[in-house]
């Protein structure tokens, strides 16, 4: 019979490993050449994705390996827990002693509460976004035959894609009225690219993974991912709307429009202003770097497999090492 308290130790191993890997990959990301201009937005986005997604996946892999090892020993009757009672056990049945460690319990409890609160808040924000997307779809004036893009009556300047499940592109009437036809086309093509690439879903998945990462790494990687995604959508828009120059002009036209009142709250549309980086990338003929991105994915998968395989091969010493380390 599995002791629920025993899972506490596995939870600690998961969190510790995920945070440690997040720190390690964050350092690799900062030192790597992916941050340099010219490395290509696809490669930068892939690197950021791996840095955000790999830590919890690998940590879960390690925990599953350790749990499987424990289950296998219990089933085969080779469980050694009762032979050495001087430390706590990473064991599904004999790990209940963790309840006597108030610090460990408090640590995990605080993390669980913080993550639950953050997830709950995010869920509310997403529901609100979904509700807004439905309202825009129902009441906004359609701009395209498929009804994806809508003009929303507003005296503010904005244009965005919204809605994870039922996406919509909303453009304020002020923005729409002040753009030239070519710029309007570039704007819609850019936002449509976000929908086609499923950026909103991908960002939520990465946000969920980022709950188990180091805050500094997460901030950096999410920002890098966001910028690379914008640059990729700019390129897609350039292909559909008359070239990079038109897209760059559209970005600047909206940026200029944003400077005149009424201004939006500073954090409403994102904390970072990527206008400079996007325009410079659009005009510099920077390659997309599909090959580098594919290599990165291969390297990420390979590292992941080696890590899990290593954990499985050395599960016995790893088990004892972690038990000693955890107390």
């Amino acid at each position: 019979m599995i002791d629920p308290v025993a899972l506490l130790a596995f939870g600690l191993v998961f969190l510790g490993t995920s945070l440690a890997l997040s720190g390690l990959l964050g350092a690799v990301l900062r030192c790597g050449r992916f941050l340099r201009p010219g490395s290509g937005p696809l490669a930068r986005r892939r690197a950021a994705t791996l840095v955000l997604a790999l830590p919890p996946i690998l940590a879960l892999g390690l925990v599953l390996v350790l749990a499987a090892e424990s289950a296998q020993k219990l089933a085969s009757g080779t469980d050694h827990c009762l032979d050495h009672g001087h430390h706590l056990h990473l064991c599904l049945v004999h790990g209940g002693d963790w309840a006597s460690r108030p610090l460990a319990v408090a640590f995990v409890a605080v993390l669980v509460v913080v993550m639950t609160l953050r997830s709950g808040r995010r869920a509310v924000e997403l529901l609100l976004g979904q509700r807004a997307a439905r309202s825009f779809k129902r009441l906004g004036r359609p701009l395209t035959a498929d009804g994806l893009c809508r003009v929303v009556p507003s005296s503010q300047t904005f244009a965005f894609a919204l809605g994870v499940l039922e996406p919509v592109v909303a453009v304020s009437s002020r923005t729409w009225a002040n753009l030239a036809p070519g710029h309007r086309q570039a704007l819609l093509a850019h936002e449509r690219a976000h929908v086609d690439r499923r950026d909103l879903i991908a960002r939520e998945l990465l946000w969920t993974a980022s709950l188990f990462g180091l805050p500094a790494t997460v901030r950096h990687a999410l920002s890098l991912w966001q910028l690379a995604s914008e640059q990729l959508c700019d390129r897609q828009a350039a292909g559909a709307a008359g070239g990079p120059g038109v897209v760059a002009e559209a970005i600047l036209a909206v940026a200029r429009l944003c400077k005149t009142p009424p201004p939006l709250p500073p954090a409403a549309l994102g904390a970072d202003s990527f206008v400079v980086e996007r325009i410079e990338s659009l005009l510099s003929d920077e390659p997309e770097s599909a090959t580098a991105a594919a290599r990165l994915l291969d390297a990420g998968v390979l590292c992941g497999l080696v890590f899990i395989l290593g954990c499985a091969l050395f599960s016995e010493p790893l088990h004892h090492l972690l038990e000693t380390f955890l107390g």
Binding site: R121, R122, V124, E125, L128, G129, R131, A132, S135, F136, L139, G140, V152, P153, S154, Q156, F158, A159, F160, A161, L162, V164, S172, L187, E191, D199, L200, R203, W207, L222, E230, C233, P244, G245, A248, E249, A250, I251, L252, V254, A255, R256, C258, K259, L264, P265, P266, A267, A268, L269, G270, A271, D272, S273, F274, V275, V276, I279, E280, L283
Partner: protein, 117 residues
């Protein structure tokens, strides 16, 4: 609201009857309560006529749509403040983008256009 925009003023009984014709049968009291709530939200006007109220829209359909959407936008942007945004904006806040930077970028784009690239 759609019924009242199509024809007004209408009494509660007339609204209930038209809903029933449109395969949306609702109890008389439900329709009365709903109309009363819309009146209290200033979306409807009402007048007493022969011991009954008649209702008519206080806003045109376009004004109503504008009001609802402005509320939605305002809610969305206020709730997004200080958090990771739930939307992908074409241009993020330009708080840090000065006039000089904008001019430099515009010149860069114009140069590129002149070069015909």
């Amino acid at each position: 609201m759609d019924l009242l925009w199509a024809a007004s003023p209408l009494t509660v009984r007339e609204v209930a009857a038209r809903l029933e014709l449109a395969d949306r049968k609702l109890a008389y009291t439900t329709v009365m309560t709903t109309l009363d709530r819309l009146f209290k939200k200033s979306l409807l006007r009402r007048h007493a006529e022969n011991l009954a109220f008649t209702y008519e829209p206080a806003l045109s359909k376009d004004d109503y749509r504008r009001r609802v959407l402005e509320g939605v936008v305002s809610d969305l942007l206020e709730h997004s403040e200080g958090t990771e945004p739930v939307l992908a904006a074409f241009v993020d806040t330009t708080a840090e983008l000065g006039e000089e930077t904008l001019k430099r970028l515009e010149e860069l784009v114009a140069e590129r256009r002149r070069a015909g690239r």
